[in-house]
Symmetry: C2
Subunit: 212 residues, 2 copies
Amino acid sequence: MKYSVVVVDDHMLLSQAIGGLVDAFDQFEVLYLCKNGQELIQQFKNNKNIPDVVLMDVNMPILNGIETTAHLKEHFPDVKVLALSIEEDEMTILKMLRAGAKGYLMKDVKKAELQEALLEVIENGYFHTNTIAKILVDSLRPKEGSVANLKEREIEFIQHACTEKTYREIADIMCLSPKTIEGYRDVLFDKLNLRNRTGLVIYAIKNKIFKP
Amino acid sequence: MKYSVVVVDDHMLLSQAIGGLVDAFDQFEVLYLCKNGQELIQQFKNNKNIPDVVLMDVNMPILNGIETTAHLKEHFPDVKVLALSIEEDEMTILKMLRAGAKGYLMKDVKKAELQEALLEVIENGYFHTNTIAKILVDSLRPKEGSVANLKEREIEFIQHACTEKTYREIADIMCLSPKTIEGYRDVLFDKLNLRNRTGLVIYAIKNKIFKP
DNA sequence: TAAATAAAGGGGGTAAACCCCTATTCCTCT
DNA sequence: AGAGGAATAGGGGTTTACCCCCTTTATTTA
């Protein structure tokens, strides 16, 4: 009796390569491959070919891994999602786990580790490496300079600050006074130990608050 | 008679997956896998196990795909490098081809296309998709706003501008007058149709002139 | 209930960035 | 030989960003 798996990755070669690898595992068979989340959800619509596990990339066009995982958790809660991505930043990992992923693997794992992860997810419902566990613990008490310390409005301001807009323009958009915007800036410079707006932009991109 | 291939990629799972895929092609066999350029060059040192083709990723630690390809071209010119990467920006592709790669595939190709590319590289010495050919043609006459239009000193300035340094500090480092730095800035704003320094930073990151 | 914190906003001043124009020297091209 | 372009640099002015301090109102916490 083999467990069924579906691979979702926008890079066709990676889907085919990883699919071939998993299909070679004794206890697993790959049903089909998908290029993005939308394609997967389309496959699920006829309520056929629903796998036990989905190997999910994160960065995909149309419907990304986070959105897709959240959708599956709501509509197909028995399907277990195992994230498999190159992205290693905390924010992405936490978003993926919050969306409902049962585990998160980076693509630098070995073939044997992938097999173990698949089995663990089937048998115990989840698989968390040491790395992921540490990130989870850290998210309980975010350290200084962490994105987790930022308020929603601060993040909104930062996203605007990563554009060519002046503070006056940003104030208009956020329905605040320019003086309030300056206050936001000052608080952020202090929280994140930054010197100026350029530093803020670099920080935002590094931490995926803004995507150029 | 099978042609020999080596896969170089820092993501172990991808190496193993793609290696398995290629090993299944009739005319090819995978000798071994490497995690980075340094490991590959180490394998070549004893002049054994030198393959016909190397499937090379670009972003790798210690010795990246560009550096490694340039090294192979000089010391092992009979070895054909076929780039295989997620990176799709022109600058990276052109750097890889200039370093001596015989072809550049994105990871969204199909398994069959990879096989065809490998065969073409063996038989004709190179394999260039339509996409790559267009990038090469465009590099002959770079369009407005293109990175190819930038002088070496301008790029150097941009890299400094992507830090928290003031123009005075950048001037000191580049041994120029602050007024000259302002001149650089003005020319760049004009060339790239930008409004301010924040715009320049975003442009630089998008075009891989600066990596956060 | 009172104190502390959060959210928003103000004053005043300095530093830096931006904008537009001009100039000199050296190198390249016709 | 002379014209044109590249690289570097200056003047002067305006706009924007930064810095530090203070205030009010609403919400949260002890």
